[in-house]
């Protein structure tokens, strides 16, 4: 879709309005509930495992570029780095985009500083491997084998290299936590990782980890938006089932073009 139709515009405004309302409500002090996400609880467990074994951890952002998915992955990397600093554990961040490398280095350095352990930050542990898919997968696998990592974190947008990375981690017995919005790679992560964060949970990660009101409000606003979409789906399904040839149903369906 090159340009929005008026229905898409209204829907976008409605969703944005709900999300902003929820954010400002949360900022005013309203307590919000977010359900437990086992994969995110496992982050502390994975870092603790690395600390006990005295081995480093690997965080790979997949083929994410400087976009929402890449920035979200770095936000999680920052949290993992803070926990790693607390346990004095080494974190190796591997990225496939040079712009993400620059931001990633600052994110990890800042995380170590905020944890009060700036001396533990090693610039060489933030690595741009390659922007080519299988070169990145091979290089990251090589890092896993050579460094003998104990825990792997795969957060970002992945393509075919997802299974290569996760199986390489499986072969060395690493604990693996993955999170991706790529629906095509979720099955591979589910079968080869210990915990997988799917779909919208990926965008709720920072809210869950930091419990910041703005982020929690955003997650609640998302849920309200999904309820609106669900009601639209139910209404449309009933309308098309009961009166598929009615003029108003045809008009309603044409309001939401496919592309």
């Amino acid at each position: 879709m090159q340009h929005a139709s008026w229905t898409v515009g209204i829907l976008l405004a409605l969703l944005a309005g709900l999300i902003l309302y929820a954010i400002f409500t949360a900022r005013r002090g309203k307590r919000l509930f977010i359900r437990r996400i086992p994969g995110l609880n496992a982050i502390d467990e994975a870092v603790g495992r690395a600390a006990e074994m005295g081995r480093p951890m690997l965080f790979a952002t997949g083929l994410s570029g400087l976009d929402i998915n890449g920035l979200q992955a770095l936000a999680v990397a920052g949290h993992v780095a803070r926990v790693a600093a607390r346990y004095a554990t080494r974190l190796i961040l591997c990225v496939a985009d040079p712009q993400l490398y620059a931001i990633g280095e600052e994110t990890v350095r800042d995380a170590y500083q905020r944890a009060g352990r700036p001396e533990l930050f090693v610039p060489e542990d933030v690595r741009f491997l390659s922007d080519q898919q299988f070169a990145f997968a091979t290089a990251a696998s090589g890092v896993m084998f050579r460094e003998k990592v104990s825990s792997n974190f795969f957060f970002g947008y992945y393509y075919a290299e997802a299974l290569i990375l996760s199986e390489a981690g499986q072969s060395i017995g690493a604990m693996q936590v993955a999170g991706t919005p790529a629906t095509t790679q979720l099955p591979f992560f589910v079968v080869s990782c210990d915990y997988t964060i799917m779909g919208e949970e990926y965008y709720a990660t920072t809210a869950y980890l930091t419990r910041e009101p703005t982020l929690l409000g955003s997650v609640v606003g998302q849920d309200w938006g999904k309820i609106i979409i669900l009601l639209l789906i139910v209404f449309s399904t009933l309308a098309l089932s009961v009166a598929p040839n009615a003029n108003w149903v045809k008009y309603w369906v044409n309001l939401f073009p496919a592309g």
Partner: protein, 293 residues
Amino acid sequence: MKEFFATPRHGWELTGFITACAVIFFLILFVIHLTPSSFKKRMTIVLTFVAGLYYLLEFLIPAETHIGSRVVTNPLTSFKEPLSTALMITGSLALLLGVYNLFRINGRLLMRRKTGWQNGLAFFIGFFSMLTMAMLNFYFPTGRTPEEIAKLKPLAQTFANGADQWKGWYNVLFYGGFSALGATVFSLLAFYIVSAAYRAFRVRSPEAVMLLAAAMIMMLGLTPLGTYFLTGWIQPDSALAGLKMESIAEWILTILNGAAQRALIFGIAVGLIATSLRIWLSLERGQFFDVEM
């Protein structure tokens, strides 16, 4: 203004244009560097908002609007392509950062003879050989006539006469080396899928049993073992056609799996909108910047 930047330039005009752009760029960087930290952060917020607002308005405003007898086109669309090009160029500059990082890590590995220093040596050999052959192949392509080669400077003529060799070596390195290695790593997926499936398809829990059953039906539905030997006796136009193995497999893929995929996509789309909104309005504080803004 678009024509000013889009007009092709040659010779000294091009050199002067690039030099002037570089000087202005460094001047702006210098001025920004002198400003206090709070100003830099506010400027980041304003620039982020303006940039996001452009793309949002460009998407929301229709391509063409009819006002009376006039047709008004979206005024923002004409800037989209030059902006995308500018973003690509800015992004490609960041590639130098990546190369610097690779050089630093592999260089230290090689100079300090740490464990695995051979990998650093392999990196440098691969990097410089590919760079050399690619540049020679690009600047001295095959197909030049002897008259065209004679017009070049003497040193360039020497390289131009070896065009076939550069192309040959480039093909060896790129198609014979890089592409072949990529295909090799890709082919590992077949074996990794088998090993992952072996671990995953075990009867440990109700969900695992459902996964195993669905996987078995899918495999049977896609192979002659299921389609011919098991349900091949069912006629395609009979009442039992829906029970053919390939029909059940297709139903699982398109109806069950399709519904789940769409549900995931809805959630992802709404999550994407929320995260984009937070970053656009700079509400995503404390994630990539200092907490105080």
